[in-house]
Every structure is written in C-alpha cells, then in structure tokens.
C-alpha cells in the first residue's frame, strides 16, 4: 500500500512543480503550487513527520498561498514574455546537468541508510509533543531567532509596501488649508524669518472663505 501512495503523491508533486514552471498565467502557477504542496504533505506523512505535514498544509497551502493569490489579483497577471534566447536554452540545460549530477551523487553515495527503509519506528516520532519538546529545550535559541526573523519580515513588508506620501506631486490646496489653520500674526517661526510676509497677502487675496476640504482620499493606483 505504501508504494502506491508514494508514487501517486510523487507524481502529483512533480506534476505540480512542472505546472508552476510551465504555465503562462501566474494565477495557475499558484494553484499548481498548492497541488504540489499538498502532495508533498502526503510524502511527509509517509515519512512519519505528522507535525510538519500539518504545518505544511496549514501554513503553506493555507496562509502563504492566500497571500500569493491576493498579490496576483492586485498586480494582475499581464502577458508573460518569453525569456531571452540564451537563458531559454541554457536554463533547462543547467537544470538537466544538475539533475544528472545529483543522481550520480546519490548512486555513488556511501550512505547505507539510503537503500533501507529508515530507522525502526518509535511511537511518538514526529508528533507535536516531540517537536515542541525539542523546540523548547535543545533548539530554544533557533526558535527565538525564528520569531525575531518573522517580526523583522513583517515590519519590513509594511515599510516596503506602504504608500509614500513624500513622493507625490506638489499640492497647492494643502498649503492653502495650512494657511487657514494658522492665521497671520500668530507668531510662527516663518513670520520671524520673514517668509510669512510674502505669504500673507496671497492668503488674504484668496480670502479666508476657502472652504476646508477633508483629508484627500483615493490617491493610490
């Protein structure tokens, strides 16, 4: 029974991987990756890694893929152009060479365990209990480091993807509104430096009946 499940899962994993690379529409690539991840979770289960398989389905196929789908929907697929001629031929050749090299490395490996079915199964191997115990005892430092890395990445993503106000074009209405909030003669540093004198007549010319408009909205693309 195990070989049957293994080959089904392996074929789905490889088909999903090929689909990610070959499909032209990025949205279909994301869906192919979901198939690949779920097939891989089945392989993890066959290797008795229950907790990692569950985390794979929940975190990867659940959360990360939803993020991908949102970004693909936001950015749009766009028409994909073919790669440059040189890379288009050299890329698959390089991958083929890598595959041959890895196969030679595996065939010539001196590891005897590769051709065995693995160590005898101990009850409790790969469960959440064992993983949690290891994380909080032997691997406490990497665990804390991983949480710090997640925090840094979350803040970095917010900083990268936020709307930059400073890069927008000069806005005259904003200056007028600032003038109205700060009438002449209130003793600002601009008045002391003499800048204000040139601004005041202009502000009175427009008249103080310029209506205050609410905060601008919908300036993003």
């Amino acid at each position: 029974m195990t070989p049957v499940i293994f080959f089904i899962a392996a074929i789905f994993a490889l088909a999903g991987a090929i689909g990610v690379v070959v499909l032209r529409n990025p949205f279909y690539s994301v869906l192919a990756l979901v198939v690949h991840l779920i097939a891989l979770a089945a392989l993890f289960l066959l290797l008795r890694a229950e907790f990692v398989a569950a985390a794979q389905v929940v975190v990867y196929a659940g959360a990360v893929m939803v993020l991908y789908v949102f970004v693909v929907a936001y950015v749009g697929s766009g028409e994909e152009l073919a790669a440059g001629t040189a890379l288009r031929i050299l890329g698959p050749l390089f991958a083929l060479a890598l595959a041959i090299e890895l196969c030679i490395a595996m065939l010539g490996s001196a590891l005897k365990g590769i051709s065995s079915k693995g160590a005898p199964y101990v009850p409790g191997f790969g469960t959440a209990k064992q993983i949690g115990t290891l994380f909080l005892t032997k691997y406490l430092f990497p665990f804390e480091l991983a949480s710090l890395l997640l925090l840094v990445a979350a803040i970095g993503a917010v900083v990268l993807a936020r709307r930059r106000r400073g890069l927008e074009e000069h806005d005259e209405g904003l200056e007028r509104r600032l003038e109205r909030l700060r009438p002449a003669g209130t003793g600002t540093m601009a008045e002391a430096a003499g800048v204000r004198k040139t601004l005041v007549p202009a502000a009175e010319e427009i008249g103080h009946d310029v209506e205050v408009v609410g905060p601008r909205s919908g300036s993003d693309g």
Binding site: A17, V20, P26, L47, V64, L134
Partner: protein, 99 residues
C-alpha cells in the same frame, strides 16, 4: 519505500525549480520557483530525519519554512511597491542596479 526514492523526488523537484528560476521573467513566478527549491530541500531533510530516526531534521525543516515565509513576505512587498510605481513587472527590465 527506501529513503533513496524520496531523495530522487527531492532532487527532481529542486532541478525543476532551478530551471524555473532561470527561465521565467515574472518575479512572482520566480518566487514560486524558489518555494519549489526550498520544499525540495525540506523533503530531503525529512527523509534524512526518517533515516536516522531523530526529529532534528524536522526541526530544521520547520525553520526553513519560517525563513521561506519571511522571504515570500518581503518579496511580495517589493513586487507591490514596484507595481505602485508603474514600473514593468519583469526582471529583465528592472536592471537599474546592473552595474
């Protein structure tokens, strides 16, 4: 199933991912292919963890998943930022840093 079979599947997935990174031009798909390569490494780690009967490889695989999630978040943030500036979403044309 012998452990070697899992390693063969892992090597094939890694090579498919590498080919994708080299040939595709959309940064979104390049990120997806990077995920493929990281997952291939995860499969190999868990296969070796099964081979030795210790759960340390699984811990390593979980940490790799955390790092992959961070990489995805930052990469997608960059893509959204590129899109907001109306630049082409094509790694061949985004070459301002190319010396």
């Amino acid at each position: 199933m012998a452990i070697g079979w899992y390693l063969v599947v892992s090597a094939l997935i890694f090579c498919i991912g590498a080919a994708g990174v080299l040939t595709r031009r959309n940064p979104l798909v390049i990120l997806l292919c990077l995920e493929l390569m990281l997952n291939a490494a995860n499969l190999a780690l868990i296969a070796f963890s099964r081979m030795w009967g210790g759960a340390d490889g699984q811990i390593f695989a979980l940490i790799v998943m955390v790092v992959a999630a961070c990489e995805v978040v930052v990469g997608l943030g960059l893509i959204v930022s590129i899109f907001r500036r109306n630049l082409p979403i094509d790694v061949d044309q985004l070459s301002e840093l190319n010396g």
